[in-house]
C-alpha cells in the first residue's frame, strides 16, 4: 500500500481503534498505531510516516518526551507531529507548538471529521 503514511500513538487501545476507523474514512491514508512513545520512535525511524498523531499523557515516555526524541534523530527530526490532548488552554497549546508540534487536536475529537482535520494540516504543510 502506498498511501499517505500516518502514525498514531496512544496508550489506550479503544482510542487507537476509533482513530484507526476515523482516519480510515480517507482511503488515501495508510495508518499504523503504536501504544507507547518508545514504540513510536522505533516505528517512525523505520517506516518514515508523513505525519504523527501523538497522545500527550502516556505512561513512561509521554508525548512531549517522545517528540523531543524524534527531533534528536535526523531521520525523524522533520516529521510533522500533531498532539492529541484533552481540552488544553491557549498557553498549553502555545507550549506544545513551542516544543515543535505542528498543532493540537483536542479530545474528545469528532470522529467524522478527524481525517479531514489531518488532511487540512497536511495541505497547510505542503503549502508552507
Amino acid at each position: 500500500m502506498s498511501g499517505v503514511r500516518i502514525l498514531h500513538v496512544d496508550d489506550e487501545p479503544d482510542i487507537r481503534e476509533v482513530v484507526d476507523l476515523s482516519l480510515g474514512l480517507n482511503p488515501e491514508f495508510d495508518v499504523r498505531a503504536c501504544s507507547s512513545g518508545a514504540e513510536a520512535v522505533v516505528t517512525a525511524t523505520e517506516w518514515s510516516p508523513r505525519l504523527i498523531l501523538l497522545d500527550v499523557m502516556m505512561p513512561g515516555m509521554d508525548g512531549p518526551a517522545t517528540l523531543a526524541r524524534l527531533r534528536e534523530d535526523s531521520r525523524t527530526a522533520a516529521i510533522p507531529v500533531l498532539f492529541m490532548t484533552a481540552r488544553a488552554q491557549t498557553r498549553e497549546i502555545e507550549h506544545f507548538i513551542a516544543l515543535g508540534a505542528e498543532g493540537v487536536i483536542c479530545k474528545p475529537f469528532d470522529p467524522m471529521t478527524l481525517a479531514f482535520q489531518v488532511q487540512s494540516h497536511l495541505q497547510a504543510l505542503d503549502r508552507a
Partner: protein, 637 residues
C-alpha cells in the same frame, strides 16, 4: 478535678469567673496570644506552646514576631503599628500566605484573628492563631482528585463518543432507524458528560488560580459579533433569533478574549435555551467613561423568586428536569461569575420590561484601566517601581501592598507598554510577571540588552504551578541573559518583595550606567547631562583635578573626554582611566576629534571612540553601553 475543687474553695464569684475564663482560654483548641501595645507577649495558652514548640515562660516578654520566620518579622512590625492606629477586629493570613515558624525552624501556614482589647490606658491585642496546614493539604488533595478523575473520565469518553459518532456517521454501514435513535440518545448524553467535565475542570482551574488570563485591549462589540455568528447554528436548533443592538457601543475593555468569549457564549446559550420557539434574544452594549455593560435579554418565563439568590451557585438549576432536557450542566452561570470577577467586573440580572430576563456584566472600560498605569501617589523619598503585569487587579493589589512601605508603583500591561513607560520615566527597579506578560522571560532579556536597564534590579514573578513545564523552561534560562535580582513564586509575599526591592535598590544606588563627563565648557556639560539623562547617571566635571577626585569616589561605566581643557589636555586623564581595576572605556568628544587618528596616546587605548557632534556622541554612548551590557550578560552566563 483537683483544680476545680481548688477553685471552688477559693472562690468569690469574681474569682470563679476569672479562673473559669483562664481555664477556657487554656483549653481553647486554637492558639491564643495576648500582646501589649509594644507587641510583647503577655499571655499564651497551651495550644500556642504545642503549635510553636516553645514553653510559655520563653514566650512571655518576647515580641510576637518571635513566632514568625525572620524574613517576615520586619513587615509584621509595620502591620502591627498600622493595626494600633486603627484597631478593629480582623482576620489575616487566609489569602496572604502568612507563615508561622516552629521552634525547630519548620514553617507552616497560619490564619490569625486579631481582636483589640482596651484595658484602661493599655491597648492590648488578642491574636487567635489557626494552623492552616490541614486546610491547604485538603485543598491540594481535592484539586488533584478533581484533575485525576476528570482525566480518567475523559479517556473512556473519547472512545465512547468517538464510536457513537462513527456509527451515526455511517462508518459501519447503514443502521435501522430505531437503532439510530437509541445511538443518538447515547451520543447526546456522552456529549453532555464531556461538557460537564469541561465545566468542572474550568471551575476548578479558575478557583485554584491555575488559569492564566491573557489580558488584551479589545472591543466587546467585535467579540460579541463573533460569538453570535459562531452560535447561529445553535440558535437555529431552538428556532430562536439572536440580534445585536444596532446602537451597540464598541465597548473597549481590557480582558482575556478567550475567557470573555466564554462568558458571552454561556449567557447567550442560556438565553437561547430558555427562549420560547420563534423567540428573540437581544444583545446590547453600553459604555460610559468608567465601564462597559454587555446585556443579553431573553423572552423566557423569567427566574423564579426562590431561585434568585442561588442562581450563580454551582449546580444551581431552577428546574433540574427542564435544565437537563435542555442539556445544561448547572455550572455555566457560576463560570460566568468567576470569570467576570477575575476580569475585575460584576455580573447581575433583572426582569426585562415586557417579560423575560436580562443578564448583564460590567467591566472596567479600557480608559479607566489605562488611567491606573501611573501611580498618582507621590512620596518624596519613595522608590519608583515599574510593575510589568497584565492583570490589572493583581497589579493594583501589589501596588496597595507596596505603597505603605515606601514604593510608588507604575504599571506596564505589555512588553511594548514597558518600553514606553521606561522612555517616559526613571525607575529604581522593575518587577516582571513572566507568566502573564507577552514575551514572558523574553522581556527580561530585552530589558537587559538596553543601556538604560542593563543594571537595574529586576525581580521575576512566576506561578510555577499551573503550567509547570513553562515555569521550568523559564527557570532554565534564568541567569544566562537575565541576571535576575530574584525569582519569586506567586502568590507574591508582598513583604518579602519589598525587602528584596529595598535591598537591591540600596545596593545598586542609581541603577543606570554611570558616566564621567570632563569638559571645561559648562554649557556643554549641561547640554550633555540633559541629553543623556534618560540613559545614564552623569557626573559632570570641568577640570582634570575634579575628574581625578570623581574617579576616586565613584565607579564609572564610561568616560566622555574633551581634549582641550584650558591649558592642559583631557588626554592626560587617560592613564588614570586605565589604572583602575577595570579600564573605563572612553569617548573623545571634542571639536578636534576628527584629527586624532594619528595620536599615539589614543592608539595606545583600545576602548575608545570619538565623536564630533552631539548626535555622534549619543549614538557612540549608546553603542558603547550596549556592548557593555552584552559583556555583562556574557560574564554572568
Amino acid at each position: 478535678m483537683a483544680g476545680i475543687a481548688q477553685i471552688v474553695r477559693n472562690a468569690s464569684p469574681g474569682h470563679l469567673a476569672a479562673d473559669a475564663a483562664s481555664m477556657a482560654v487554656d483549653a481553647c483548641p486554637n492558639a491564643m496570644v495576648l500582646t501589649d501595645s509594644a507587641g510583647r507577649i503577655v499571655l499564651v495558652n497551651t495550644e500556642t506552646e504545642r503549635l510553636f514548640g516553645y514553653p510559655r515562660e520563653e514566650l512571655i516578654g518576647n515580641t510576637i514576631e518571635a513566632l514568625l520566620p525572620e524574613r517576615l518579622r520586619e513587615g509584621h512590625v509595620r502591620a502591627r503599628r498600622e493595626f494600633t492606629l486603627s484597631p478593629a477586629p480582623r482576620r489575616v493570613g487566609a489569602d496572604q500566605n502568612l507563615l508561622g515558624q516552629h521552634r525547630d525552624g519548620r514553617e507552616f501556614p497560619i490564619e490569625i484573628g486579631l481582636y483589640p482589647i482596651q484595658r484602661g490606658r493599655n491597648a492590648m491585642v488578642l491574636s487567635v492563631i489557626v494552623d492552616n496546614a490541614e486546610g491547604e493539604r485538603t485543598d491540594r488533595l481535592k484539586d488533584e482528585f478533581v484533575s485525576t478523575v476528570s482525566h480518567e473520565l475523559r479517556t473512556p469518553l473519547t472512545s465512547i463518543a468517538g464510536s457513537l459518532g462513527l456509527l451515526i456517521g455511517g462508518a459501519a454501514g447503514p443502521l435501522p432507524e430505531p437503532a439510530l435513535r437509541l445511538i443518538r440518545i447515547a451520543q447526546n448524553n456522552s456529549q453532555r458528560l464531556v461538557r460537564l467535565i469541561n465545566d468542572i475542570l474550568d471551575i476548578e482551574k479558575i478557583e485554584s488560580g491555575q488559569i492564566v488570563f491573557n489580558f488584551k485591549r479589545l472591543s466587546a462589540r467585535a467579540l460579541a459579533e463573533q460569538v453570535i455568528d459562531a452560535n447561529r447554528g445553535y440558535a437555529d436548533g431552538f428556532h430562536v433569533r439572536v440580534r445585536l443592538d444596532e446602537a451597540a457601543a464598541a465597548g473597549e475593555v481590557y480582558a482575556d478574549p478567550d475567557r470573555l468569549s466564554q462568558v458571552i457564549v454561556n449567557l447567550l446559550s442560556n438565553a437561547i435555551k430558555f427562549s420560547p420557539p420563534d423567540g428573540e434574544v437581544d444583545v446590547a452594549i453600553k459604555e460610559d467613561r468608567a465601564s462597559v455593560r454587555v446585556g443579553i435579554r431573553d423572552r423566557g418565563n423569567g427566574i423564579p423568586k426562590e431561585f434568585r439568590p442561588r442562581i450563580f451557585e454551582k449546580f444551581a438549576q431552577a428546574d433540574a428536569t427542564d435544565a437537563r432536557k435542555k442539556g445544561g450542566t448547572g455550572l455555566g452561570l457560576s463560570i460566568v461569575k468567576q470569570i467576570v470577577t477575575r476580569l475585575g467586573g460584576t455580573v447581575g440580572f433583572a426582569d426585562a420590561p415586557g417579560g423575560g430576563t436580562v443578564f448583564f456584566f460590567d467591566l472596567p472600560a479600557w480608559e479607566q484601566v489605562a488611567a491606573c498605569k501611573t501611580d498618582t501617589e507621590n512620596g518624596m523619598h519613595a522608590a519608583r517601581i515599574l510593575l510589568c503585569e497584565n492583570d490589572p487587579d493583581a497589579a493594583l493589589a501589589l501596588r496597595e501592598s507596596l505603597r505603605p512601605v515606601g514604593f510608588i508603583t507604575d504599571f506596564a500591561y505589555s512588553a511594548a507598554d514597558a518600553f514606553a513607560q521606561l522612555q517616559n520615566g526613571r525607575y529604581d527597579a522593575i518587577v516582571v510577571d513572566t507568566d502573564a506578560l507577552d514575551g514572558g522571560i523574553g522581556l527580561v532579556r530585552d530589558l537587559r540588552a538596553q543601556p538604560a536597564t542593563y543594571k537595574i534590579p529586576i525581580v521575576a514573578l512566576s506561578a510555577g504551578g499551573g503550567s509547570e513545564q513553562y515555569g521550568q523552561d523559564c527557570a532554565r534560562t534564568d541567569g544566562a541573559q537575565t541576571n535576575l535580582t530574584e525569582w519569586m513564586h506567586k502568590p507574591v509575599d508582598a513583604d518579602r518583595l519589598a525587602q528584596i526591592l529595598d535591598r537591591a535598590i540600596l545596593h545598586r544606588g542609581d541603577s543606570r550606567p554611570s558616566i564621567l563627563h570632563v569638559d571645561d565648557d559648562r554649557d556643554m556639560l549641561e547640554i550633555v547631562a540633559q541629553t543623556l539623562d534618560s540613559t545614564a547617571s552623569i557626573i559632570s566635571v570641568d577640570s582634570i583635578e575634579s575628574a581625578r577626585y570623581a574617579l576616586l569616589t565613584h565607579n564609572f561605566d564610561l568616560a566622555i573626554l574633551d581634549i582641550g581643557l584650558g591649558a592642559v589636555s583631557g588626554l592626560d586623564l587617560l592613564p588614570d582611566l586605565r589604572r583602575k581595576d577595570a579600564p573605563i572605556p572612553v569617548i573623545i568628544f571634542s571639536a578636534l576629534a576628527g584629527n586624532l587618528k594619528d595620536n599615539p596616546q589614543i592608539r595606545a587605548n583600545l576602548n575608545k571612540a570619538s565623536a564630533a557632534s552631539l548626535r555622534d556622541l549619543v549614538s557612540a554612548v549608546h553603542d558603547r553601553l550596549i556592548l557593555q551590557s552584552a559583556q555583562v550578560a556574557q560574564e554572568t552566563g
